[in-house]
Symmetry: C2
Subunit: 252 residues, 2 copies
Amino acid sequence: MTVRSAPDRLLSVLAAFDHEHPALSLTDISRRAGLTLTTAHRLVGALTEWGALERDESGVYHVGLRLWEVAALAPRGLALRQIALPYLEDLYEATHENVQLAVRDGAEVVYIEWLSGRSSVGVHIRVGARWPLHATGVGLALLAHESPELQERYCAGPLTSFTPYTLTDPARLRRVLADVRRTGVAVSDRQVTDDALSVAAPVRGTGGAVVAAVSIVVPQTDAQVPVLVPAVRVAARGISRALGWRPSALSG
Amino acid sequence: MTVRSAPDRLLSVLAAFDHEHPALSLTDISRRAGLTLTTAHRLVGALTEWGALERDESGVYHVGLRLWEVAALAPRGLALRQIALPYLEDLYEATHENVQLAVRDGAEVVYIEWLSGRSSVGVHIRVGARWPLHATGVGLALLAHESPELQERYCAGPLTSFTPYTLTDPARLRRVLADVRRTGVAVSDRQVTDDALSVAAPVRGTGGAVVAAVSIVVPQTDAQVPVLVPAVRVAARGISRALGWRPSALSG
């Protein structure tokens, strides 16, 4: 057994919780974190006392409110979402469709906001969920504005397939990314599930770098892409302005 | 110097970040956490590697996306907010005023959602912010439904005053809490700032216990309480239903 550092052991307790495992017993935590029951007991106790975990009446542990409060300070999490929310609400009011905000983390997008449309297509996206860049509209919008090196490394694959429409051919993905840069919008047409289409646009920060992407997801059969594009672009530009971005003649 | 446990030291690094200090240098962290620079350096390194912290180009640390992802699993944080958001949006659409969702943590309310009204009164509330129970509408709605023992302990004081209207007299606070239970709504009339009024109603969980409160904050001079009350109550009941609460003939 390798010797693990104290921070590593404590963080492994937090990492035991995920969307499939939002509530865990002490035994679950010890098993999932790879810790002895004694160590798990001690660390869970410290985390619970601090408020990072909460224990309910049945003895099961959940992520606690204090961790949530600290995490609310994450500039790429709740802080970004707080600035973006009015624009996402406006986009939702204008379309009544699923509206999302996402950022890139490595080779994946992480959804940091999601307003549900009434005409809900089968979207299985939750706040905090992750998805590979090449499949989603927001992922394509983010990837297209990364450095050529990062794009090339990503395009070289492997590119996981989710439906027959997922972009798994590197050459085709490169062409799509060039289109996204040219048009300022990304469309994912049945590339995640075979009934959904999304239209996404990049969000820029103060210096002009792309820091997030906003999208609408609609049922593919009714999708009116030319109608959705301006709405998504206006929302993305609104969020960018609120973040301090100032448009120039050159930027889309 | 007292010997601090490894979990305590690591958590003190996270606790160094708050609303007034969302971005910290290594020196700031070491000072605020009460750690030597060497220890702070080692712990910040571990937290950054894991993703709980992120370092920007200027070398300053922020709370990281991975902590936010774990924290998104907190049932009393983002998870509750996710269920409540459609109802909060409806309340916002119906009133275009500031709409809030809060939970109790000890003697304070913690705001877990806040939609800003266009006619913005000077509300200084942010997601993750805390406020004493007796001053705010949400706090009164939450306190009124706690056990008689907790209420009595709270009423015994001390009760901090924020304006001349803040409830600082224990006997008066007890009468107000009885009114809240009877009417199903709580009103904070200039008790936080001298220009704002809030109307709040309790949100119930599956078993009927009050788990959160929803409120509207408006400028006190234009406040039409009789108009706001039904809207806030309908929203609170909608969220309660979404959480699994089923009304009985007895419950408000």
